[in-house]
Amino acid sequence: MSDAYLETTILTNILLKPGSKKQAAAKFALARYQETLLPVYSIKEWKKGPLDHYAYVHDKLVQTKSLADTLGAINSLSPSYASYKKSTSLESLEAATRLQGAQRRTAILSKQLDKELADRYRLALASLIVRTWRKRRNVATRTIQDLECYTEAKPTLDRDGYFDLKPQKCDPDHECCLADALRARPDLLKKLRDAIPESSSREEDRNRRKVLKQLINTPKLPLTEEQCRRLGDAIFAFFCPPNAIILTTNMRDHQPLAVAVGKIAQKP
């Protein structure tokens, strides 16, 4: 296989994890391929998921003007908020702003320092969000498979300093632009459906199976924006070009789907 088809986790690791081992591994993996292909579907998922989470943290810093309160607020969110939330310690973020790592302060930060740290991370997040948006189409050698029903609008800051990442969804007035191409290959749809265990207790699996079932059994029903989103990983297996592998860190979900339609999923 000469080409790599980049899934959302790769885009996330390259753009939103600066200086990390994951970023280095993803960049190293890209260099192995003659061509790297980034579908716009990955950009859409990246903007709605990880980028939106960063924007949320940024906005919380704008709101609270305190790093301690921001982390407290994020860590108090229910697990159902999103899979992107992470319990992050104030100490680790504070230590990362020090010119010398050894000079740790006491556990209770002064208000002034807390505000300064909030400003530092607010600016760093705003910078990262805007710059990675600018860079998104340069991550791969080619960005492919534009989505007719999706507008790639850049993140903006409103007058109060909060990020606006709309639109994150496709145009609801039109049917999903992928619907006809999906319906044209019921054989592949059946293979993808069969690759998802009927007994799976994961909501993600159940939803994906349901949408695939609808496309197979009642193809005349329109495919909505929400259903397209629920197809998620199946979209990558379906549309990955035949001479490419799906490059992802999420092998658990992508491998069975890829194998079902005669394709390959690989980790960086």
Partner: protein, 196 residues
């Protein structure tokens, strides 16, 4: 392995949607009344007026303190970087690095008058994290020159807009400096990532 090529739906022509520009004047980022050289990279810099920045912001009782503090600190910082460049050109790398160390020590002070605007703040903050990520490694001559040039442009136009400031930040990044805090990725969970 399937050899069937699935044709991805080709987009048809659609009426162009109005794109909203950021265009938000963040706190303290209003454009100065007088045409200042606002920077945006040396190639983009256009001097609309020959009025020096110190003439525009003379130190009087009415002067905005943040601007005056920043202008003074930036002048000191630029002078240190000039010394570092001179030493580097003379291949005195230790001396060059000693000047850079002194510049690095001035960065926390430069962040204090960030009320000037987020454009100013994001450049200084990026330099702060760049030095943390350098972990004491000396700057190359090109990096030194980029930092020196960006700060000179910042001093000429401290009210730089946020998006324009990101062009300067991009120049720092292109020079090989890692300007994002590594700890930022700690904010993102890796539930889809099996490496965890």
């Amino acid at each position: 392995m399937t050899d069937t090529i699935i044709a991805f739906p080709k987009p048809t022509a659609r009426p162009s949607l109005p794109v909203r520009e950021t265009g938000v004047a963040l706190r303290g980022t209003t454009q100065p009344v007088v045409g200042l050289p606002m920077g945006g990279g040396s190639a983009r810099a256009t001097v609309q007026s020959a009025i020096p920045i110190d003439a525009l912001y003379p130190a009087t009782k009415e002067s905005a303190p943040d601007v005056l503090i920043a202008l003074g600190l930036l002048a000191d910082a630029i002078a240190l970087l000039e010394e570092a460049r001179t030493a580097s050109k003379a291949r005195d790398m230790v001396m060059a690095d000693r000047y850079v160390q002194r510049f690095q020590a001035a960065l926390p002070g430069l962040f204090t008058p960030r009320g000037i605007g987020d454009g100013y703040g994001v450049i200084i903050n990026s330099l702060h994290f760049a030095f943390i990520n350098q972990r004491g490694k000396p700057l190359s001559f090109d990096q030194l020159t980029t930092v020196w040039r960006v700060l000179r442009e910042l001093r000429n136009g401290p009210f730089v807009q946020f998006e324009q400031a990101l062009d300067y930040v991009g120049e720092l990044e292109t020079s090989g400096l890692q300007i994002d805090p590594e700890a930022i990725s700690e904010l993102l969970d890796d539930t889809d990532d099996e490496d965890e």
